[in-house]
Symmetry: C2
Amino acid sequence: MKTTDAIPPGKGKIINAMRELLENRNFSSITISEIASTAGVTEGLIYKYFKDKRELLHYVLKEHYEFFLLQIERDLKGVQGALNKLRKIIWSSIDRYANHRVFGRIILLEVRNSDQYFKSEAYQLVKKFNRIILDIIEEGMENGEINKDVPPSYIRHAMFGAIEHACLNRIIFNETVSTDEAAEQITELVFNGIKAQ
Amino acid sequence: MKTTDAIPPGKGKIINAMRELLENRNFSSITISEIASTAGVTEGLIYKYFKDKRELLHYVLKEHYEFFLLQIERDLKGVQGALNKLRKIIWSSIDRYANHRVFGRIILLEVRNSDQYFKSEAYQLVKKFNRIILDIIEEGMENGEINKDVPPSYIRHAMFGAIEHACLNRIIFNETVSTDEAAEQITELVFNGIKAQ
DNA sequence: AAGTATAGGTAAATAATATTTACTTATTAA
DNA sequence: TTAATAAGTAAATATTATTTACCTATACTT
């Protein structure tokens, strides 16, 4: 009986090839034949391991997201207070998008337009992350740090909307902006709004 | 010499077919042959009027966006003050997404993943709209309504990020939320932030 | 140690789609 | 009335995704 679930070399090469190609190109323009030749395997092998091209995409996202969640959980260790936790999450998220354009490209541009994604394992992880955020927001409302007027889901929308919108330009136009600065601006906005006092 | 630039019947039918199909399906799953049969024309005719499938998509978006901009300009007439204008724009944008799912689907899910889009006429209109928003924000900063700490582009990101993120769920999961309520929550958030006073 | 199941892999066929080509038919301005 | 051109078609071709049938090595069973 096989004990380890190590991924076979061919599968690994396929995943890496997909990642590599996504670095500079969008999903629909990448062909199976390109993936196969970049990986140095035959096209058929891709279908041994993945149902279709999209499932491979989702797999790559899932891997990225697992690392992201691990990092987030680590980053939150020892942070006290809901606002401080949100501040940290904003920073970590921007940092992810900034340093992993493939991750950003997939999640912001490539997956949400297909139903398949919402049934994928990757999407389960996204939901898990969403749950974490909502819990923090609710915690903040209970202990009086966060205004109760606006429902938690809207707060999450605003937070991630701002982050994602700001990061999109970097991914699309290859702009580079400092994570620290972007995080500060977005945190300030989400916390205090734009209205002059 | 032809004086009017009325669109020929075939072209019109193609555009309508594309719109109709986008109502319930995503772009990549819609085939040229389906568009042709829905429109009641031959596949070849589609290529007479559009370079490729994506150009047709961009055309549909352009049309929608033209209506949207017209409506926005109308909505802003007589509104005084930068914050009031932004409030109105938030409401109008949400209203658009809520009542025109094809518009929402195209702009939020289908176009941004291809370079072609950023060279399209539709994108020029998006830039025009962005310019309008930035001008309002700058106006607000000058007259003291809006806090100068955060750069205008970040404010725009936050505003549209929040709107788009909130509207995405409706488009993807067919959720229906009231425009009025969503607009109010998002405006409150963008204006005052989440921090308890 | 032989047999057998199975995982890893290939090569070539097929299916699904997008796009091009060469052609017809109808309009319209000179 | 005619030449140019716009509207439209049908069928061929190109491109790309997916399936099929097969080979080979390895590891587990008896």
